[in-house]
């Protein structure tokens, strides 16, 4: 087997692995919320059942742009997943955080294009909220990343992960505590959990971008969320939690990040959109700025 075929095989593996891991997390996350609400909750493989069921249903498309946008979103996010190192392993040899942030936006923009093409006003409102919120969390996030780039003179995620390999004390969560808080707040908004679930808001805008997605489209929507979880939790583990040497440690750390998110999600209510952005800018933004200034002067 030549090298290209092997790489292609590995990439396919990563794509399916990311989807399965994300779906597993979604199922476990539902159990976590259920336990917090004193319920039993669904079995942990519920999200797999949901997705397979979605693919057995009929579905409606509104036009070609909708099909294209949704596939573009999935493609964009899977491409992002290739660049996130999993347990100090990166197939493509490069894992620049700038590429990750850039490709991630392609995923979101594809989603925006696809669902806006469906013509449903709720979808458009959801998308405009998502883009407004993106402005809220991307700025603190990028400021923290800039602090790291200043320290290491590199934007490579693998470099960051390897730099934290010298035991517990070398984790960035201790080196950049303020940055970690800022990113943790931003992360809540990134995955769209409460208090930043403006985009979905089922009781308000009928699940926003998902409103017109039926059957197979909804299945792809779920897969999108799964890959998104993989990418974003992986990003945080590599940035702050010391990366991982083995795949199971990586999975445990990724789940720990998602677990925190789900716990916050279970006990919070939703902000209004302008409150949400203000909160992100004031709190996440000022923590990130302090971190940046601190790193610039004393780092």
């Amino acid at each position: 087997m030549n090298a290209h075929a092997l790489t292609a095989l590995k990439l396919t593996g990563i794509a399916f692995g990311a989807m399965s891991l994300g779906l597993l997390f979604m199922g476990l996350g539902r159990i976590v919320s259920a336990r917090i609400q004193r319920r039993i909750g669904p079995p942990f493989y519920q999200s797999f059942i949901d997705v397979i069921k979605c693919f057995t249903k009929t579905s409606i498309t509104h036009n070609f742009v909708m099909d294209l946008g949704i596939i573009m979103a999935l493609g964009g996010l899977i491409a992002t997943a290739f660049f996130v190192p999993f347990a100090n392993f990166s197939v493509l040899g490069s894992s620049s955080v700038v590429i990750v942030l850039y490709l991630m936006s392609i995923g979101y923009l594809g989603m925006a294009m696809g669902v806006s093409a469906s013509g449903n006003p709720n979808a458009t409102i959801g998308i405009s909220r998502a883009l407004a919120l993106m402005l809220g969390y991307k700025i603190p996030f990028v400021m923290v990343i800039m602090a790291m780039i200043l320290t290491y003179n590199s934007s490579d995620l693998l470099t960051y992960a390897l730099a934290q390999n010298h035991g517990f004390g070398s984790w960035h969560i201790f080196k950049y505590p303020l940055g970690f808080i800022a990113v943790e707040i931003a992360f809540q908004a990134m995955v769209g959990e409460k208090p930043y679930d403006h985009m979905i808001a089922p009781a308000e805008i009928a699940s926003g971008p998902m409103v017109e997605l039926s059957g197979k489209y909804l299945g792809i929507g779920f897969l999108l969320h799964a890959v998104q979880l993989y990418v974003e939790t992986g990003l945080i583990v590599n940035l702050f939690l010391g990366g991982a040497q083995t795949w199971y440690i990586m999975m445990v750390k990724m789940f720990a990040v998602y677990f925190t998110t789900m716990c916050i999600n279970a006990v919070m209510a939703r902000y209004r959109i302008e409150q949400g952005i203000r909160h992100l800018w004031i709190w996440a933004g000022s923590f990130a700025l302090l971190q940046l200034v601190y790193t610039r002067i004393w780092g």
Binding site: A34, R39, Q46, D50, K53, I60, P202, A203, S207, E212
Partner: protein
């Protein structure tokens, strides 16, 4: 009004092969519901969903729009005006889709049987896969009914959506009968569907023409 020969050919047995059997397993384990809170019945849903009876154990959960849902819950009496919206919602749902009628009102009108703005027999307007008797059915009864529905889905018996497609003209005629009613209903209300066969007669009919 004249309604001779009102009867429903029931299409109960889907020809199951291995794939539909497998697909049905996933369909029954992940029913997303759209609840149309028309009547008193909606109040029994929160306890069914929350910690006491927790229907998420069965993989069921609420969904925001008809496009995403598999299961339409008609939770109580249905006025003629609402009926129109319910039909729109039902037709927007993607197949396979199931309908559950809550309480006696969708079955036979319940205590509103003689009220002119309320329809009496839901199954004359849309295919009902499961009806839960009671005024109002308690959460135990609701969970019971969902479990029964899951069995029926697995066996390929809950195929109301196919019935709707096959007998659309019949359903459409019944819908038009009440939706396009022009004259005021002043005289004591006569239920136009009173001559419909009872459930028992339907079942008898059905065993004759099963395996359609």
């Amino acid at each position: 009004m004249e309604h001779d020969n009102i009867y429903l050919t029931n299409l109960r047995d889907e020809k199951q092969n291995m794939w539909t059997g497998l697909a049905n397993y996933f369909r029954k384990r992940s029913m997303w519901m759209l609840y149309y809170c028309t009547g008193c019945g909606a109040i029994e849903l929160p306890p069914t969903m929350t910690s006491r009876y927790d229907m998420e154990r069965l993989g069921m959960g609420p969904m925001a729009t008809p496009r995403q849902a598999d299961l339409l819950l008609i939770t109580g009496y249905l006025s003629v005006k609402t009926l129109k919206r319910v039909i729109w919602s039902y037709e927007q749902m993607q197949e396979p889709k199931y309908v559950v009628g809550f309480g006696s009102c969708p079955i036979n009108g319940g205590i509103y049987w003689d009220a002119y703005p309320v329809i009496n027999h839901l199954e004359a307007f849309m295919p009902v896969d499961m009806s839960i008797a009671g005024c109002m059915p308690r959460p135990q009864a609701i969970i019971d009914a969902f479990e029964k529905l899951m069995d029926e889905i697995q066996q390929g018996k809950a195929v109301g959506y196919k019935r709707y497609r096959k007998h659309y003209d019949w359903y459409k005629r019944n819908q038009d009968l009440v939706l396009n009613r022009q004259s005021a209903v002043l005289t004591p209300y006569v239920d136009p569907f009173a001559s419909m066969p009872t459930a028992a007669e339907l079942m008898a009919q059905e065993s004759e023409d099963s395996h359609v």
